[in-house]
Amino acid sequence: MNQPNAPKWIVRLVQRLLDPSLLDAVLGDLMEEFDQNVSQVGLRKARRQFARSGLVILFQHRLRRKRVARRSIWNASMLGYHIKLSFRQIRKNFLFSAINISGVGFSMVGILLIGFYLTRELSYDHFFSDLDRIYRVIPIYHNSTNDRPMPSAPPALGPLLVNAHGGIEKSARVYISDINNVLGYEDRHFIEKRIFYADSAFLDILDFPLIVGNSETALNAPNTVILSRRHAIKYFGTVDILGKSLHFNEDRTVMVTGVVEVPENSHLQFDVLMSFSTYRVPPGYTDDLTSWRWNGFFTYVKLSGAEQQTTIEQFLTDTWMANQNRDREVTVTLQPVKDIYLGSSYVYHPYFAYHYQTGDAKALYGLIGAGVLLLTITLFNLANLSSAQLTRRFKNITISKILGSSTRSIGYQLLVEALLISFLGVLLAFVGIVIFSDPFETLIGYQLELKGQEVVPFIGIVLLAIVILASVPISVSVLKASRHSISDRAISVKSINRGLSWRSILMIFQLIVTSVLLTATLVMKDQLAFISQRNLGFEKENVIIVEMQGEILERHYERIKTGLSNNPNVTGISRSKYALNGKSGGSPLSMKSWDSSESFGVAVYESHYDFLETLSIEILDGRSFSQSFPTDSANAIILNRTAVEMLGLDVEAAVGQQVRLLDWDKTIVGVVEDFHIASLHGTVRPMAMVMPFTHSTKLLVKLSSGDVSTHISSIQEDWRALLSDVPFDFHFLDDSIQSQYEMDQRFSRLTTTFSTIAIVVALLGLFGVSGFLLQTRLKEAAIRKVLGASFGEIVLLLSKSFYFQMLLSVLISIPVSIYIMQHWLNNFAYAIDLNANSILIALLLVTTLGGATIFYQSSRIAIVNPSKNLRND
């Protein structure tokens, strides 16, 4: 008679684990103590004390039950024996094992790819040595309606930070030139678009590794240049080029003081790094390097310690407000360099879209989610398959038990088998990735090279994966085995068709995930197609853009224009500073009548005569710039519809109105329909077009329709006759527009791959599980057939529960996919409406493939001669 109020689980544990000869003594003592405690301190405390004493007793190992043959399992010869048996088992159930191994393999490919991608995206900028205390200056401009954080600062701020505060160790400005410059060595002249000008402390803050040269002095003097390794090879064929000279634009010479390695995972990507003192403000700019208004200079600081951040932010704000010669409310903040790549969406500003790289943190979460789902599917599959498999092996297990195997030894056998299967699967995945590394690299857009310490977490992940994957069949076996007595096992597998529930739930979940992934893939494809086909407000086909150095283009523009106009294949020519791929200038715009503090930001396009005509941009009212109005170059402005509406004007009434752009008074001469100068992630913003006041670097040539390549070669001939020494460096407008969606396309490719993998894994699972489940109904089917059931009746009988599950999961998946995809589409300002088509196609695909699998399995059974399945009994 046990004490009724004492915690039963302790009693049970003690009974199970304690040396049997001590059991009465110990349990009796515990009970007696419990009784004493109940009367002294109450039931609750007594129960707690009972548990405590009981556990303390169990921790005394000398009081515990002795185990006899404990170690013998793990000696080497037994392990060898287990492995051998496992291989036999794999060979015996070849189909089952192949499904399992390839299922594991497929999903590991997916998970490893996600792993590579994640490692890569998270590794951005981690090569800088003082990462924890380097920051980028982010001024936040306040005005009455909003706060606008900018990634860059005015040029006047940088010099004020040198030796200004004990907390700032170093500071440096970086200016990224958006005009085309020409570098040349001997006869090799190229237009360089990624020239950065940087203060001498730049390499102390962001320590890009120099291959040759001294990072402390390389940027000290004017007219010095550091080339990236690729560009050193491009110009000189070697990196051993210290002290060599390069021609810079038409009249300057710069000296090479270093060659730098620019890792791919750096947020700054440059080809040429020049000392800041080399920079000359191009003619036509309204501001110089003492300006507080010209916000275009990335400013980096290295602090003496991360704890200084708030102090320095305050100091920077004070310095800014005390020194700026204008009336503007600004708070200066610091953004850790390690957060720039993934955490810059709040400072995203289209003017700077191409100046530094940013990643999409949301997309990464999506990928992690996809990876987790994939892993879940795989685990469910393994669980399903191994439980189905185990019922088949009950006879085998029972016989080995009867012949004297211990439960433990059978357990180890199952463990070795499970480990072996998941190991083979992971191995398969690795071999697959190595063999197909090229397509995978295009897929994730990175090189799959793992070296040094990056490998360590991967080995960890892989080992963990093997263990996790193997643990599933093990726990299934243990659970199942513990529920069956030996006699149950010996008799048959009758229990399998009863409580199907948890297996069905796993299968339904799998099918839901698969359908959702597939729908997502199709919707993404639709959206990307929609974007590339959308009318952007101008004609992007048959336009080529010739990149030129600004001075040369300006000097020769009239000659080029006359020369090329004679070519019958050319239907329009213009020039502009920007070419519709996201870049633009920016300035405040207001009505002349407004108060001086009121204004809003507009994108500024400097473009020449015929720009609107060349691109077939619709003019709503007024006219485009014209040579017959000589004042156009100084006074005229063309606005888009959005800008006009933001000025509070009617489109029809806008022409002739006076506005103020920055400091200039302008007259509106035309209003154009909105057109997209940046990617469709954002809506059309207000924009203003003025005649170029600085060098424009892009020559736009509209070709007549027809064979583009012959047109281009004829233009090239004309070009050589006109300007023999200027390179004809051209690209197509639609290509450069498309390149804005590279990240989206990469993401879509990844999703496609994952959903393919998910479908394959899910189908493999369905194939395996249905096969095994139906195996248990062989005799039933045979007897029904003998009794006169037709082929169709048997197939229906065998497969209807599967079809029901499939239907259920498809129905559940619909709202889930709609919810998720609506969320994704919200990222785009111009998104497709979610229509039934892609969802239907996805669901049809899932049901057809799944249905075919099940039909195949059930018809295989229905078609067989009944005597084959009955004669053994």
Partner: protein
């Protein structure tokens, strides 16, 4: 088996077994230690120590014959000090006395 020395707790438990004479079982020893020495030891420690003492041959145990109605109806495991246990206790006491006697007066001052 480790040597036949008596550890501090072992000696204490052994003394308690001797003190309790015919009612020396786990919980009683635990309570006695608590009452007399004001020292909280867990039941597990007491049982473990008794087990060790038995391995060394200092105590002997047998289950009590009457089945009490308390204790969940489980008999007590009663311990008795063996002859070698008694010898070990005496030896340890003698050793102590000797050592006390040879402490120079300078150390603790005159008695």
């Amino acid at each position: 088996m480790k040597g036949t020395n008596l550890g501090e707790l072992e000696e204490l438990v052994l003394l308690m077994v001797a003190n309790l004479y015919d009612d020396a079982y786990g919980l009683a020893i635990r309570n006695e230690i608590k009452d007399k020495c004001n020292r909280a030891v867990s039941l597990g420690t007491v049982h473990s120590t008794l087990h060790r003492l038995q391995d060394k041959g200092f105590v002997d145990s047998k289950y009590g014959t009457k089945n009490p109605s308390s204790r969940g109806g489980r008999p007590k495991l009663l311990f008795k000090v063996t002859q070698s246990g008694e010898r070990a206790l005496r030896q340890s006491r003698e050793l102590r006395n000797q050592l006390w006697d040879t402490i120079p007066e300078l150390v603790f001052g005159p008695k």
